[in-house]
Symmetry: C2
Subunit: 456 residues, 2 copies
Amino acid sequence: MKADLLAQLVNVLGEERVSVTEADRLLHGRDQSAHPPHLPDAVVWPHTTAEVSAILKLANERRTPIVGWGAGSSLEGNPIPLRGGIVVDFQQMNQIVAVHAADFQAVVQPGIFYKDMNKILGRHGLFFAPDPGANASIGGMIANNAAGTRTVKYGATRDNVLALEVVLANGDIIRTGSRSVKQSAGYDLTHLIIGSEGTLGLVTEATLKLAPLPEHFSAVLATFSSTAVAAAAVYHIIGSGLGPAALELLDAAAITYMNLDEAINLPVAPTLLMEFHGPTVETLQTELALVQEICTDGGATHFSAGVGREERDRLWHGRHQLGEILFRAHPGERYLITDVAVPISHYPELAAYTADLMSRMGLQGALFGHAGDGNLHTVVFPPADNLAIDLHSFNDQVVEKALRLDGTCTGEHGVGIGKQKYMVYEHGETAIGVMRQIKNLLDPHGILNPGKVLGD
Amino acid sequence: MKADLLAQLVNVLGEERVSVTEADRLLHGRDQSAHPPHLPDAVVWPHTTAEVSAILKLANERRTPIVGWGAGSSLEGNPIPLRGGIVVDFQQMNQIVAVHAADFQAVVQPGIFYKDMNKILGRHGLFFAPDPGANASIGGMIANNAAGTRTVKYGATRDNVLALEVVLANGDIIRTGSRSVKQSAGYDLTHLIIGSEGTLGLVTEATLKLAPLPEHFSAVLATFSSTAVAAAAVYHIIGSGLGPAALELLDAAAITYMNLDEAINLPVAPTLLMEFHGPTVETLQTELALVQEICTDGGATHFSAGVGREERDRLWHGRHQLGEILFRAHPGERYLITDVAVPISHYPELAAYTADLMSRMGLQGALFGHAGDGNLHTVVFPPADNLAIDLHSFNDQVVEKALRLDGTCTGEHGVGIGKQKYMVYEHGETAIGVMRQIKNLLDPHGILNPGKVLGD
């Protein structure tokens, strides 16, 4: 990085908030994916929107790449600074600016982490529902349109953001959306920014739609004879008009991995892990009876509802730990994380195909997903004795299957680096051309997260 | 319209689907708003996306204005062809292309009307939830991001559209979104098009998210001593975790107008008209008991739940007829329809302010709205003996109040003609500048619905 640009950054932020040390650069060179790291030239920690604006103005004039940074927990290489430049770490812009409890809204800075935020919001009886599992930053969740176990009931991040403050490539600051939950006043810039992975602007403030903490809830476990039978039960549950707050599929291998945690002791079988929320115990009981009926009719080999709070927390902790358990069980091994989604009617076919492909390729790992909204993940490892196995070919085949089933190459991890090659297949040349024009319009010098989403 | 352009249109569509008769032009010169009509030069009725593409290519080459047309039921002048040109009437592109019942989705053409579509979808046990009251076309609902009585539970149109086929100004055809309910694959062009009022492209096909028809439902009526007290009860209901499927506020005058219908005989008082849906009778009963408790605690003077199907249908029919009843009661009078929305916590203040302003200005008409999502309407008429009263000044004051309360100048009717003057106030110069750049990018010759949303 040129000394005069560095001096200008120091001028804006002070020396203690600009770093070029190798330690800091290493910490901002990789995410949780298998994509190879690339180091930025500098890392900066702004405190205000005005500082972010000043940084972007400088970078834009100097044609220097800018990459926003939250928790580094993304899974598709989304924040890896492929072309070097400046990483803007939002760690020190992590405040809750306002809680509008009566409106079920909070205004927050992008650097706040999901779990930390929800701990504070819980005091108001509220929570931000899209749960990515990881303790992601809100800015990162917005950038990637993250989703998770609660999305089946509450939607993805894009469904739960009402308004944004965004700094554009040239340093201009815009406010999009409204605190009104309804708005038909012009073009929807909020949704254009959500999921754009920091390639159209950097979010410096977000107004989030919150949900009231459920008064009563119950986790539900149902096991099935096969992954496909379990997957088939899913849309009967959704079709009944029941609104599960979570509806997760776990294959037998996933359960085996979860059981490696001493606190978990589940029957090893394809499993649906669900949760129901209700305003009263009676409401909840009625829903649980209905879901039991549906699961039993759908061939469940075991069903247990009314799981107590402690056991429920343990199960969800286990579910959220699954990735980590997988990596601990395969230390240092090559791995790949897949993330596709299809319409629910095609979910059994996708799940069966993927399970079969894993088995045919001799891959270890687990198959699991947010079945209620058609999202399927795997974490796969090649067998130790077969270094020739091409994990990317596995990904290609899973994605192609999902696209043939009217689905998407990425349900919630974003395009980042790994999914770019599927974008034209998914959207067509013309739509990708429109996306590219919008990118060029808003970031004419290509400084924002270059090499991502649409490539260079 | 120049003869050679007309000949080219006839060449594409045949003579019977191109009209320059005054009768056809008059039918396509005004909507349901008070904005003065303006006639197009020609009206065309395409049958296919390829035809729409050919029409747009011609118009783009000839710099001829193009305005999409659905049911003509919009309320802000949105489809009035201000600069003449060609109206593209989608009346003959009104098919349901596919029903994916297991996925709760339908693929439809833009010309199908809301009520007609839901009648057909009902055979599959499904419905498209955003209910605009009027028998709007789906294309129009998408163009204006329409919403209505069911939005409090099911969201607005933008929350219920998964994918679009869109013809751009130059005739290019793109497909946006996915049948997968989750997608994080690039920029969200679907939401950019929704609510753009035909100024960025014409929708030729839409994949809609449907909801299962509720197994059990009940309408609920609660009356209160004042509009403000009724409005205050609203967020207690929402805050309880209950999910009403409708939560409408009607002032005493609105009830008086509704009672003009012989089938309706409601106590004349500020009223909340609600509906609850449940998977079982027990679930529903529990919810009704809870809402009664909340209303009683909130000062309800009368409460009745468990309204039977027939009475419930009559009430909703009455609610949906309200606009028509108002116009019948004030034949030929000047009128204005307002449409603002605010965060729910500010709803009582907005309602009280608006009621007071109506009274101070001596306006007749009614105040009502989709209270559950903060949306407030009025239909107002100046007193017959005061022709000097400026209805626009009433609108200005209501909108300014809504914007001061963190709201929006239009909750669901769109910008059209009447709300353009508030756009900079609501979004700021810089954000409007971005919208304008996107408009210029996608429609460089300004042929698409010129003079709307952002003006010329």
